[in-house]
């Protein structure tokens, strides 16, 4: 394929201090091409967010390296971030802490536009972005506390996309939203990212949404990628027992009111013994 690779993460290892140190991510490698949406799924504690933070350069991985647009990703430090790296943007899980409570939301979206302009791209206006994410453009002079969680998340998405990223890292962007807004926000992100021709790393534990928007899916368990591949194929024919368990855990709205059984400890122990399956 001749696709442009925007992100190339190799053998990422993330450790958190402690005795013994917690190995949150244990040798994860993947690539994201321009215009592609890659989903990262797995239970809580499986290392999804650690991967996101390492990829976006918020935390420094203990081992391995991350390349973005053919350059290394330097973690945030004392210095201002290199201009080229502002093409990595992130949308966070909790919309209530994603926006500065003391600044007008229009100004915060304008920060994104300024980042795009600093990279020599054409400018835009906050109002346009408000319209794109489905908000009233006249709301730009409001403060964050005047918005609901879903609206705040849309503003955070507008800010990230206004920087015209080549890579959008979305760390559970929909899990704090209610069911009716979840799929609309997810679809919105996918459409806008596709429009910009950017790649997206979409982290979620909502498998139904992932199935709808992701081109490829990585399944993580205990810090390792257990299975990866084309979303449709993975869904139709899961190979790894953990993937199967994950898919079986989706409640079915079939009217029987059956709640999926939780996996036993033996099941959990067996998952790590099965080698990862990649295509």
């Amino acid at each position: 394929m001749t696709e442009r690779i925007v992100l190339d993460a190799r053998d990422l290892v993330v450790r958190y201090p402690g005795s013994p140190p917690v190995v949150a991510v244990d040798g994860v490698s993947f690539t994201i091409a321009a215009g592609e949406t890659v989903a990262l799924v797995g239970e809580s504690g499986s290392g999804k967010s650690s991967v996101a933070r390492a990829v976006a350069g918020i935390d420094r991985p203990a081992e391995g390296n991350v390349r973005f647009d053919e350059g290394p990703v330097e973690p945030l430090g004392v210095r201002r971030r290199a201009r080229s790296l502002t093409a990595i943007q992130m949308v966070f899980q909790d919309p209530s802490t994603s926006l500065n409570p003391r600044r007008r939301v229009g100004d915060q979206v304008a920060d994104g536009i300024a980042a795009a302009r600093a990279r020599g791209l054409e400018g835009s206006r906050p109002e346009e972005w408000f319209e794109r994410v489905g908000l009233d453009p006249s709301w730009v002079s409001r403060f964050p506390h005047q918005f609901s969680g879903g609206q705040k998340q849309r503003i955070a998405i507008a800010r990230a996309l206004a920087a015209r990223p080549h890579l959008l890292v979305a760390d559970e962007p929909i899990s704090a939203l209610d069911a009716s807004t979840q799929s609309s926000v997810a679809a919105l992100m996918r459409d806008l990212v596709a429009e910009l021709g950017a790649g997206m790393l979409f982290i979620s534990h909502d498998l139904a949404v992932v199935q709808r928007i992701a081109d490829r899916t990585l399944v993580m368990y205990a810090g390792r990628v257990m299975e990866s591949g084309d979303t449709a194929k993975l869904w139709a024919d899961p190979q790894h027992p953990y993937t199967r368990a994950l898919l079986a855990a989706i409640p079915k709205p079939d009217g029987t009111g059956r709640i999926p059984a939780a996996p036993t400890l033996d099941d959990r122990a067996s998952w790590t013994t099965v080698p990862p399956i990649t295509d």
Binding site: A56, L76, V78, M90, F92, N100, D111, A156
Partner: protein, 310 residues
């Protein structure tokens, strides 16, 4: 249909009117807060205007010695025939502006040190905070005495001594607030958009800690006045014949029978310190967002309860 909408609108307008009418007084509802604000404002006014309207020159020795409070000398005269009332009011022009200035200076120094320590962490944090601990380890007044005495007794040196001993608490509070905000998503998002650490501090973090810092500063004004007066009382601040409350009390000790010499400067210190403390407490209640929400909810409940009763 249209009539119904009309009444609906009217109740909306009424409700909005209620809310705007209630919001300001509710913030100031605590009587102590109002009292503190009134007294503090009165003293500040006195401090900036006293020199124009005091009945006697504060250092003029033109009256009978040790005259009791009465009609022609409101608060009596001191041992050298100076009018206590005039000296008291002029004392405010010395103490209050200096106290405000020293609080602002201490707040600026403490905020800068604390913000840098909290934001950058690691060895910068360690170094700055150990220096802060070093200063905090000494009892405030003793350290201020040492500094003032080593610089030489004068009002200016007393202010410097007071700044030296009062910045660490601002540094401590700022550091802890910055530590809490540093990991917030909007701060990280700002950094990802290419903001430098300095810009991140000034744009994303400092505006969000202004409220608590203001409260701390207001509460600290009282302490600053006490410290300045205390240094003057010990002879390390204002030098005679400057009219200053602490030195007035100090000289009152020599004439113990004349109660008015010490009581009125003492009352002046008491009222101004209490006023700024009340004001600070009220400010804290106002600026605490959770308290605000709790109050609004309570007000909503009461208004809906009265609405239901009606």
């Amino acid at each position: 249909m249209s009539a119904e909408r009309g009444t609906g609108n009217r109740t909306d307008v009424l409700a909005a009117g209620w809310r705007t009418r209630l919001r300001w007084p509710r913030a100031w509802r605590s009587p102590l807060g109002i009292l503190g604000a009134v007294i503090a404002v009165a003293w500040v006014l006195v401090a900036f205007t006293a020199s124009w309207w005091v009945p006697f020159e504060p250092n003029a020795q033109v009256l009978p010695r040790l005259q009791e409070p009465g009609v022609d000398t409101l608060l009596g005269t001191d041992g050298t025939g100076r009018d206590i009332f005039s000296r008291l009011m002029t004392g405010a022009t010395v103490t209050i502006p200096l106290a405000l200035m020293l609080v602002v200076a201490a707040m600026v120094i403490g905020t800068v040190v604390g913000a840098v320590a909290g934001y950058f962490g690691r060895w910068i944090d360690e170094t700055l905070m150990r220096i802060t601990d070093l200063v905090m380890a000494f009892p405030t007044v003793i350290l201020a005495m040492v500094v003032a005495a080593s610089l030489g007794p004068s009002l200016f040196n007393a202010v410097i001594a007071a700044i030296v001993v009062s910045w660490p608490q601002y540094a401590r509070v700022t550091r802890s607030l910055v530590l809490g905000l540093r990991g917030q998503n909007y701060v990280i998002a700002g950094r990802l958009l290419g903001r430098s650490p300095l810009k991140s501090l000034t744009v994303d973090i400092l505006p969000n800690i202004v409220g608590p810092m203001l409260v701390l500063a207001t509460l600290d004004i009282g302490a600053a006045i006490l410290l300045l007066s205390g240094l003057s009382f010990l002879g390390l601040g204002a030098q005679p014949p400057t009219a200053e409350w602490g030195s007035m009390i100090s000289s009152a000790i020599q004439n113990f029978d004349a109660w008015w010499l010490g009581v009125f400067p003492g009352l002046a210190i008491l009222t101004v310190v209490a006023a700024f403390n009340f004001l600070g407490d009220a400010l804290r209640d106002i600026l605490d967002p959770t308290a605000e929400v709790a109050r609004e909810n309570q007000a909503d409940r009461t208004s809906s309860a009265t609405g239901a009763a009606a």
